[in-house]
Amino acid sequence: MGILEVKNVSKNFGGLKALSDVNLSVRENTVHAIIGPNGAGKSTLLNCLVGKLIPDTGSVMFDGQSVLGRHPYEINQMGISRVFQTPEIFGDLTVLENMMIPILAKRDGTFELNALTSIGSQKDVIERAEHMLEEMSMADKRHFHSGSLSRGDKRRLEIAMCLSQEPRLLLLDEPTAGMARADTNNTIDLLKQIKEERDITIAIIEHDMHVVFSLAERITVLAQGTPLVEDTPENIKGHPKVREAYLGESA
């Protein structure tokens, strides 16, 4: 039994079959990559995992509980954090404030009307936020306006925000899309470091094969809404079906 079990999931948009009969099992404490050509249904699958979309059929179980029909904020509270393709952070707030919000959400739940306590008195939250920033070597930027950070730093901050909630499953949606090579390598190093230091399961959707093969322990190849194969990176590399899906039959 994996920590995340996707069974027979299908999703249609009108006449378009985005996902048909997807089965996927992500084992605890592994890095699981989901790859596939454009339009394979990777993002649709991810959206089904976090509550943004509800599949037409099938089930999605996280740690023995169904996530279907739950709101994204409920799924997050169950222990799934999501990193977006373009970093989603609170661009109007400072880096430190960005960092405090997930920590407050973890501590206080989905809603808390603590309108008359001061932020300054939340020593535990500030301490944890500062510590997290230090760990991600962003402490010197804590009073920066987060909207003015570089793309790589925004990504770093977003990952830090997700990790501060100590999620059991971290979902990454093309974390290096549109990044310069140096930023991509930094992100790979960061994810490697996270994997080594924490008990965390990472599911990653990626286009960039360099990223996939430097991180993943298991790979699922998705094409036209169905999983083709699931295997270790070594076996995937030379797999004929994968070559076919990516390069067309003539290859």
């Binding site: 976090v50 709101h71 994204p72 904020y73 409920e74 997050n76 509270q77 954090s81 999501r82 977006f84 989603e88 952070i89 609170f90 661009g91 109007d92 707030l93 404030e97 405090m100 919000i101 997930p102 407050l104 959400a105 973890k106 206080d108 739940g109 989905t110 809603f111 808390e112 009307l113 603590n114 309108a115 008359l116 306590t117 001061s118 932020i119 300054g120 008195s121 939340q122 939250v125 009073h143 920066f144 306006h145 909207g147 003015s148 925000m161 909630q165």
Partner: protein, 403 residues
């Protein structure tokens, strides 16, 4: 002090001093001098300053923090006024039950409107709130006449029950202290008026301001700013945005109800026109003019607009002729002709131009103007105003309305 940091405490003390000393500050000119018409230190206007200050502070808690632009906030003010006048009619002229009920009723009403309107954001939210407010206005004018007394407006009649009145006074009072009572202090040619009603409202404004600071600096306030910044990230951070925005909406509705209740407490009347969309638009102008999302901005904006409304509108042609009387005849008439559209009934034109100038050149409102002057005085324009000390990273001013 009071759970505030040093900077906020200073701000609160300064505002308190200004409010307490307002009868002096607003009356700088001797009573019979030509400039006396610029004096704003009479009770009626000072009350309006603080009451609309409360209204704008509350509005800013919603708009400034979450970015949700409500275009129907006057409905809560109107509902507060009606509730207060009903208390006068049923119980007595004592203002305490009136204000308590005004806040409660406005709060309940805003739960209802907020619950529906907050299903949408951006322009759709604005339109929904506007629609609700206009509905309330029209209902108050026609169908709900038994409750609102329609066009005449709700007022207290001598045959109303007033069951707790006994032999209490026939005007609004606080356990016997009449709201209309005032003490006039004459110093030389100056005359300063200290009104019970003004100080009563002022205390409420200071408490409202203090609470607003606390909310701004609380984790709840941080979450509201997060709503404005990125709702998607909030949802994926395990936070439910709906109760946060609803709570902000209700709190700001209660502020509006308090303002409405105080209005009725100063003058026991309530009319439907208080709910009209122009009244809702006015508080939007006040907040943006002063500086949305800042603490003191809405209060400044409210004071600014009320000053214009009451002082500029009173300047008429004969006053202008007096001002320009030193000029030769033709010149004098010409100047009066030029200035005429901007005064009297034309004060809206002056206000409109000022508003445009502020929005274009000072997107942060009057507060930004103040900050720029302060920065210029401190560094003579050399140092940037921001505290980050990082010239490369200047945040763009946040947009006024959340997308």
């Amino acid at each position: 002090m009071f759970g505030l940091d040093k900077k906020d405490t200073t701000l609160l003390i300064v505002v308190t001093a200004l409010v307490v000393l307002a009868p002096f500050i607003l009356n700088p000119f001797p009573a019979d001098s030509a400039l006396a018409q610029f004096n704003a230190g009479y009770p009626d206007l000072m009350q309006r300053f603080v009451i609309f200050g409360i209204f704008a502070i509350g509005f800013n808690l919603l708009f400034g923090l979450t970015g949700y632009l409500s275009f129907g906030h006057a409905a809560f003010l109107g509902v507060g006024s009606y509730a207060a006048v009903w208390m006068f009619k049923l119980l007595s002229y004592n203002v305490v039950p009136a204000i308590v009920l005004a806040v409660i009723v406005a709060g309940l009403f805003s739960v209802l409107i907020g619950y529906v309107s907050l299903r949408r954001s951006g322009i759709y939210f604005s339109i929904l709130t506007l629609a609700f407010a206009q509905m309330s206005y029209n209902l108050a004018y026609s169908v709900l006449t038994p409750i609102t007394n329609g066009e005449t407006g709700l007022q207290v009649y001598s045959n109303d029950p007033q069951i707790l009145k006994g032999d209490g006074p026939d005007v609004t009072h606080l356990f016997g202290l009449e709201m209309g009572s005032a003490y006039t202090l004459d110093i030389g040619p100056w005359s300063f008026v200290f009104s019970a009603g003004y100080y009563f409202c002022a205390i409420f404004m200071l408490v409202a301001f203090y609470l607003a600071i606390r909310i701004f600096r609380s984790p709840f306030g941080l979450m509201l700013r997060a709503v404005k910044s990125n709702q998607q990230r909030m949802a994926y951070t395990g936070l439910n945005t709906r109760p946060y925005t609803l709570a902000a909406f209700v709190i700001s509705g209660m502020y509006a109800g308090l303002a409405g209740g105080l209005m009725a407490a100063m003058d026991p009347l309530a009319g439907a026109e208080r709910m009209q969309w122009t009244a809702s638009g006015e508080v939007v102008l006040m907040t943006i003019l002063g500086g949305a999302g800042t603490l003191i901005g809405p209060v400044l904006g409210a004071g600014f607009i009320k000053y214009f409304e009451n002082i500029f509108s009173k300047i008429n042609d004969s006053v202008l002729h007096q001002w320009f009387s030193f000029m030769p005849d033709g010149m004098e008439d010409f100047m009066v002709f030029i200035v005429h559209p901007f005064i009297g009934k034309g004060w809206h034109l002056t206000l409109g131009i000022l508003f445009m100038l502020v929005v274009i050149f000072l997107p942060g409102g009057l507060v930004e103007g103040g900050q720029r002057i302060a920065a210029w005085l401190r560094g003579r324009g050399k140092k940037p105003a921001g505290g980050s000390g990082d010239p490369e990273h200047h945040p763009k001013p946040a947009p006024h309305v959340a997308e």
